[in-house]
Symmetry: C2
Subunit: 365 residues, 2 copies
DNA sequence: TTGTAAGCGTTATCAT
DNA sequence: ATGATAACGCTTACAA
């Protein structure tokens, strides 16, 4: 196998630059010469040396894709589609997962810097913002979450619409008092904006918000499970607590750390519905129901964000919202490449995508 | 920010080669000079140009990781750990997913060739074997499945032990006649070896094997669901069929393509247990049970390979086998790097890892 | 249309 | 211990 352009050039009695052109700018080479060269290349299985090309062209055509948790199948789907699109558009994607760890977040960025990537799509956490400054003038797109720096394009779910849909669905189902469980709103912007959306919800509904400190999936599952246990316990001893006439305001806000700590429930009605701000939390809630011997959506309603795929394997229905992440990922990577290629030069913008209500996607046809 | 070694050299009044040495071979540079250089580098955030280094050193320090389906959270976990280990050992992993598609399989290999990777870990399908020949003399390690070429190191589950554990567990539970569902054994070696293992099982049990043509997760789920429906329907009309005295042999083998096609059940007893050769198949079986209004593990036992994480969210128990994939991945990537660095030069070998029986990992504590 | 030659940033060899 | 220099394989003015 020829190891370089020069080998080929010698073999075919042409100049190295002609071979180079045959590969990179075929129309600048006579049809006959071109054929001769390309045939020979195909026969011998020669591949141009990427390092040499990148060095010479002073660019890497490499895109960084940084996600929070590759083991989350929705994230994996999004990563997958971004990789495909990147390849199709002639770029080489490098996929990294931070697993919600600050260390890996920093390492990932560092690695991409070393690699000289020409653009980055990232699912950021609150600590990412400062790290992103290291990417001097290369385009960055924020996916699914926001650093709130307003420096980059953003593609994510419309949390306001989502929370509105969730609460209004549960209200229609007869719920009067919701328990809404979030993850760490300091680290993860989507929890923060979903919480904010709840505060601004127009529904005439009582609700209590609960926050789990956890950041990764397992922490959220475990936290939500414990929390659900304590909430249901407290609910058994529920007695009306006068809190004035304004039912739409948030009435309690707890950061529960152990299951010994009983959940505070304040309102005029006992809790009759749960909203999980994320599918890991939903998994924990479901486990909590089992611990307590309760049936989901019979004793108490459960509604979840993210429409996780395990819903189809449950023997009961569970209403949810589809997560437009894959669509957002598609837009994000395309926008990034447009930026890289200077095909898009408007101001940075945030695109908020609507989720869809999903009430019948149960396995029972 | 200095853009090259030369910038730094000029700034600090040393030769470029000294700067290079300070970075790559610190002990070959006087402590004082070294400090001066490294400090300056740290201050300015300079990164050596990887392309130039690779070009000069004629190596890429890049490892290809090719998996079949990144959206499978077990695979994603394995990919994750391999990336971490690769980084720790100084290599840059490039993660690609074939989604069980021949096209993407070919494309992935091609991309790795272009990248000049110095090693590959791959979860192969039967069509991969010929493609792997393109990697001339760089080491390849096969993970989770085998191309049966015996050219590379292999790390995967011990399917013989696994199937033995599955059948013996179900027998203990009182099962007499199993329905064992596999995916495409022509494309996916793990289905083939699990089937082979079943044929050689020492249990005194009747079983019928069924094969789903599908390759990707959704095909398997859909196929298994349909199949389960037809099996259960057939089971209702079960009548003893004389097949001689040899109960341990396989009695039927069907490739069902539509649910109109009734499943053939042959044996002395009606089917009273299912084995899913994979977690996607298990998901389909569970859905089939719901379609038929049956309760899993009450009306009929269901046993699955892979111990999928959704088991913990079911309101009932489901016995399963843990998949030692993450451990295998750890071994695989380390072996690969050992090969690359010539730290391991024995003959290629296949390491088979035992799964663990998992009967109580239900959410009900 | 094709050839010539310079240079991308690094490292390895050799000389000092 | 440090410096000078050539070379890695490719692209791209510019020249022919």
């Amino acid at each position: 196998m020829p190891e370089s352009l020069i080998d080929i050039a010698r073999k075919l009695n042409v100049a190295p630059s002609t071979v180079s052109r045959a590969i990179s700018a075929p129309d600048k080479v006579a049809a006959k010469t071109r054929q001769k060269i390309l045939n020979y290349i195909k026969e011998t299985g020669y591949h141009p040396n990427i390092s040499a090309r990148n060095l010479r062209k002073q660019q890497s055509k490499t895109i960084g894709i940084v996600v929070n948790d590759l083991c989350d199948s929705l994230i994996a789907q999004a990563a997958n589609i971004m990789q495909d699109i990147a390849f199709k558009r002639g770029y080489f994607p490098v996929l990294l997962s931070t697993d919600e760890s600050r260390t890996k977040e920093r390492e990932s960025i560092e690695r991409l810097l070393v690699l000289n990537v020409c653009g980055v799509v990232i699912i950021p956490s609150s600590t990412t913002a400062s790290l992103l400054d290291h990417f001097n003038h290369i385009p960055v797109v924020e996916l699914d979450r926001s650093t709130s720096t307003c420096k980059n394009d953003e593609f994510r779910m419309d949390d306001t619409a989502a929370m509105q849909m969730a609460t209004s669905y549960l209200k229609e189902q007869g719920c009067k008092h919701l328990s809404v469980i979030f993850g760490n709103i300091d680290r993860i912007s989507s929890f923060k904006s979903r919480h904010l959306a709840l505060l601004n919800c127009s529904q005439e509904l009582e609700y209590n918000s609960y926050f789990i400190k956890g950041v990764n999936a397992q922490d959220l599952i475990d936290g939500a499970r414990k929390l659900t246990n304590t909430i249901i316990e407290s609910n058994k001893n529920f007695s009306v607590e006068e809190i004035g006439s304004d039912l739409n305001k948030e009435v309690a806000q707890l950061l529960l750390e152990s299951s010994d700590n009983p959940a505070k429930i304040t309102g005029q009605n006992p809790i009759d519905g749960f909203i999980a701000a994320n599918h890991s939390i939903a998994a924990g809630i479901v486990q909590g129901f089992y611990d307590q011997g309760l049936e989901v959506n019979k004793d108490l309603k459960v509604f979840t964000f993210d429409n996780p795929d395990w819903i189809s394997i449950l023997p009961y229905k569970m209403p949810s919202l589809t997560h437009p992440l894959v669509k957002a990922a598609d837009l994000a990577i395309n926008r990034l490449i447009d930026r890289i290629e200077h095909k898009y030069s408007d101001n940075v913008e945030a695109r908020l995508l609507r989720p869809q209500l999903c009430v019948d996607k149960s396995s029972q046809a």
